[in-house]
Amino acid sequence: MSGPQDIHEYLAEFEDIPGTRVFTAKRARQGYNLNQCAMSLMKDENRARFRADEAAYLDEWNITPEQKDALLKRDYNRLLDLGGNVYFLAKVFSTDGQSFAQAVSTMTDMNFEDYTAMMVAGGRSPEGNRSIKDKR
């Protein structure tokens, strides 16, 4: 099929999906150090140092004050806005001993119990969640 695609049109469509941050090159660039910092928590010795003094550990990384603040607060939606990617941020959840579902529920308007009940009942419906402008 696919002939040449307009990269601007391709990227613009991602902004129309409700409640979703697509990990575009722009975010990948903005979040490079943030994601590499999160990645460092795959090593046990780094997890131990992070737990001992989170702020001091984060100071070792070239991340912005906003990224540092959002990390300390575990404000995952803000971290996504600042270039974080969920697979990298997962290293923070696991350092905290949280499951993927627990951490992911904090990004929604539900508590973990309600989020789990929603998943057991079949998950969040795509109805009304596909497009902001078309309200569908």
């Binding site: 409700p18 969920v86 696991s94």
Partner: protein, 298 residues
């Protein structure tokens, strides 16, 4: 001659690794998920693939942001389970098939796919969870594995069409390998799921099942689904389903479904899998009780 005898599409949810490793696979939550793989585990015992070309994505385990290959093929001797932050899974090491892997890599590059060659890496749940689901808990995995990693994290991932075409090229590469090998291709990841943001937890049962339907038979509509449709309809991580299209492309023009299974939820996701037989007149149907003998006789 090496030949592709079957394809499997499957989710690779990390929680299933935990459930398998800690013996929770029969409880109320996980029972219906693992039961759906029972047929496939029995079937694999008679199929006895020599090699599985296992298409997966790395979840910031072997690769970080330093290097982001779109398509990478493992040509190493063996791969250890990765430490994803809570210690490596206690599952067997994965044995590679360097001769076939290098052969495929060369063939793909000549076929104008710019592959990244990997000789050393650890493999994460994207690869080890499907092995657990299809083979249970053996002391050693009963097949060699060629890992084929696809970037579906940093945008843009490859198009569905490109993935399908890569599968077709893999089929040509396998068919030109002289050793007599029974090869399967697995496409893993998906089904619908979104792991991030306020829309997290999105599940689209209808779309997922239509996607599975589209893998069966001789249609090729799936290769034309644009990224935006996966994202809107199946959640931000539903894009992983493009990896199933590499498997489908490798099956040739026509397929038959031998088994399918779909369940919601598993953690944040829908889980599904499908077992396909290429049905292109090659006489590769090895289902049934005499399957093992037929493999041996060929």
């Amino acid at each position: 001659m090496a030949r592709i005898t079957a394809g499997v599409g499957s989710s690779h949810v990390p929680l299933l690794g935990v459930a398998s490793d800690f013996g929770k696979d029969k409880d109320d939550y996980f029972g219906p998920i693992f039961d759906g793989f029972e047929w496939t585990r029995e079937w694999e015992k008679s199929e006895k693939p020599d090699v599985v070309i296992l298409v997966f994505n790395d979840h910031a385990s072997a690769f970080d942001m330093k290097i982001i290959p779109t398509f990478a093929i493992g040509c190493g001797e063996r791969y250890k389970p990765a430490d994803e932050g809570w210690g490596p899974r206690q599952v067997p090491e994965v044995e590679g098939h360097p001769d076939l892997a290098w052969h495929i890599a060369q063939s793909l590059i000549l076929d104008e796919f710019d592959m990244t060659i990997i000789n050393e890496m650890d493999v994460d749940h994207g690869l080890t969870v499907p092995l657990s689901m299809m083979f249970g808990k053996p002391d050693a995995w009963p097949t060699k594995v060629i890992p084929l990693a696809v970037n579906v994290v940093t945008y843009p991932p490859p198009s569905g069409n490109r993935c399908w075409a890569l599968g077709e090229a893999i089929a040509r590469a396998v068919a030109s390998f002289e050793e007599d090998l029974n090869v399967q291709v697995w496409g893993t990841g998906g089904m619908s799921h979104q792991l991030q943001g306020p829309r997290a937890g999105l599940i689209n049962r209808e779309w997922d099942n239509r996607f599975i339907d589209g893998l069966i038979g001789d249609g090729d509509d799936l290769r034309r689904i644009p990224h935006i449709e996966y994202l809107r309809e199946t959640g931000s991580e539903g894009i992983e389903m493009v990896m199933w299209l590499i498997m489908r492309g490798a099956m040739g023009r026509n397929t038959r479904a031998l088994h399918r299974h779909y369940h919601v939820p598993c953690s944040n996701t829908a889980i599904g899998h499908v077992v396909l037989r290429p049905d292109n007149g090659e006489g590769l149907d090895m289902t049934g009780s005499d399957a093992a003998e037929r493999v041996a006789a060929e």
